[in-house]
């Protein structure tokens, strides 16, 4: 599936329904080029992770796709609707969980979800049943009438996911959904994301947690300085580098050597004199090999 293109990995869609289609998308903020011509397609029911360091253009892409910002040029379609020419139809297709918590803290969980349902033109009966269903789904039903300001960070995140799912969107955008959460809560959110995927939704996820992308994503795109520098399934990307990696300090610099199998790694390790660490290859290694930089800011 992966194909080399000028030294960079590209994924060619073979059976994608193109729930998200982005063509040569560019965004300039005065003199800064935030996006420099992004092209990609995300298929139906897929979890697609968009990785990159801070400032690489991840949030800008999501903002454009969800109608929070306008592109400078290029096209994008959500479930076949053009984001600028069919804006309202395109917005109906997607739910958004932004990076920062943007719930009404004065209002209760129920009121937050109810207002969202009204904004998406849902009828009263539909809203009421959907709120109960979703609060059970994200396991927060007992806090239905609590003001949001009384909830913990993890609970607020789950309420945001429930809110984004209120109008049953076909595509769910998650912008750094677990940032700032402790590992236990983070894993709860991951389970929730998998559950949402099983219900048939397409998920577009930005993160700079490598393990999050590895665990959740069917495909991953690496973004650097507004460009996609690699795009493929995580296992395929990592498989091209090897299965094992050995980190060692050489002349004060960290160097990593990759091995196809454990035996090859063990043979190399046996010859080592200095300190080293042997571990499995991860997506961070892929990003490093493509860009020479780390994903973490």
């Amino acid at each position: 599936m992966g194909a080399r293109d000028g030294g960079r990995l590209r994924w060619r869609s073979q059976n994608s329904h193109g729930m998200i289609r982005i063509e040569n998308l560019k965004k300039n903020y005065r003199t800064i080029e935030a996006l420099k011509g992004v092209n990609l397609q995300v298929g139906e029911g897929e979890i697609f992770a968009y990785l990159g360091p801070n400032g690489s253009g991840k949030t800008t892409t999501i903002k454009i796709l969800t109608g929070l910002a306008s592109p400078s040029s290029g096209d994008a379609y959500l479930s076949g609707y053009h984001i600028l020419r069919q804006t309202l139809d395109a917005k109906r297709q997607c739910g958004l969980v932004p990076q920062t918590i943007n719930l009404d803290h004065e209002l209760t969980v129920y009121e937050n979800l109810n207002i969202h349902g009204k904004l998406f033109h849902m009828r009263r009966r539909e809203r009421l049943s959907r709120i109960d269903e979703l609060l059970e789904y994200v396991d927060i039903k007992e806090r239905r009438d609590s003001p949001v300001k009384q909830l913990s960070g993890g609970m607020k995140r789950r309420v945001m996911v429930a809110r984004a799912l209120m109008h049953a969107p076909r595509i769910l955008f998650l912008d750094e959904p677990t940032v700032g959460l402790d590992p236990t809560i983070r894993r709860k959110i991951w389970s929730l994301v998998k559950k949402i995927q099983q219900s048939g939704s397409t998920i577009f996820l930005t993160t700079h947690y490598i393990e999050e992308a590895e665990f959740l994503a069917d495909r991953v795109a690496f973004l650097e300085a507004g460009r996609i520098v690699a795009l493929d399934a995580p296992q395929a990307m990592m498989g091209r580098l090897g299965a094992w990696a050995m980190d060692e300090i050489v002349n004060g610099e960290m160097e990593t050597t990759y091995f196809k199998g454990r035996e090859e790694a063990n043979r190399h390790v046996a010859l080592q004199k200095g300190s080293f660490a042997l571990r499995r290859v991860n997506l961070e290694d892929v990003f490093l090999s493509v860009t020479g930089k780390k994903v973490q800011p």
């Binding site: 309202l88 109906r92 958004l96 009121e111």
Partner: protein, 244 residues
């Protein structure tokens, strides 16, 4: 339409949650002005042949509907910069006009609520004025002008501090110079000409005339309606611009 109602309902829910605090805050200003300017100046002071308190109450109505309708800008700012709720509206399939209409209606409601507080105070103070259709029309138009201005300003500013600056430069001078506490016709002619450009001067004039039971002068009403309409359209463009 449903989008507009959702935006309006959200503002009303927030207002309801802090209604007691809001009503107390809306009462402080008028009570202080009544004590300081009304009772302090004595019952013997007359303006245009009427007791000063009868002159003051319609002025306070004009001022309060202006400040409370304009206060929607602060609510929008809190939603935009602090809670980031504005993103929720922008990601929803509603037109910008629905958002502007919802916020302007919320501003008008706040304006009307503050008038209720003043009229109650006037009733307690034993001041009887005519609260006829033209009185309420002038109040609604005045609130419409300043709620629309509030949406424009809320979209143009970049922080809470900018918002406070705009209030100090535009709203506070207008509150004192727009015929609220003293008759504009007692000012030098050139000052009168300057004050004629302030919408509050026309609002105070229309509200006072209606409260006195005089025949309304269409010019003030038309001017407020025209200005309100222009600011409403401008608010729509400012919301579109705020996306960037």
């Amino acid at each position: 339409m449903r989008g507009c109602l959702a935006v309006y309902e959200r503002e009303m829910l927030i207002l309801k949650k802090k209604l007691a605090r809001q009503l107390a805050s809306m009462s402080v200003g008028p009570i202080l002005y009544l004590i300081a300017f009304g009772l302090g100046m004595g019952k013997d002071v007359q303006v245009h042949g009427r007791p000063y308190l009868e002159f003051l109450i319609p002025g306070l109505v004009a001022m309060s509907s202006m400040t409370q309708a304009f206060a929607i800008a602060s609510e929008i700012n809190i939603a935009r910069f602090y809670w980031r709720i504005f993103e929720e509206f922008q990601a929803a399939p509603i037109r910008n006009i629905a958002y502007v209409t919802g916020e302007v209606l919320a501003g008008i409601t706040r304006g009307l609520l503050s008038i209720g507080v003043i009229l109650l105070i006037a009733l307690i103070a034993g001041i009887a004025l005519s609260y006829n259709l033209f009185f309420w029309l002038a109040v609604v138009l005045n609130s419409f002008v300043f709620a629309s201005l509030a949406v424009c300003m809320a979209m143009l500013v970049r922080s809470h501090a900018d918002q406070a600056l705009l209030t100090n430069f535009f709203i506070t001078p207008m509150a004192f110079l727009g015929g609220t506490f003293f008759p504009v016709d007692r000012m030098p002619l050139w000052v009168q000409k300057v004050l004629d450009f302030l919408p509050l001067t026309h609002a105070a004039h229309a509200i006072r005339g209606a409260a006195y039971g005089e025949t309304p002068q269409p010019f003030s009403y038309l001017l407020l309606a025209g200005l309100g309409g222009m600011l409403f359209v401008l608010a729509f463009y400012c919301v579109s611009k705020a996306k960037e």
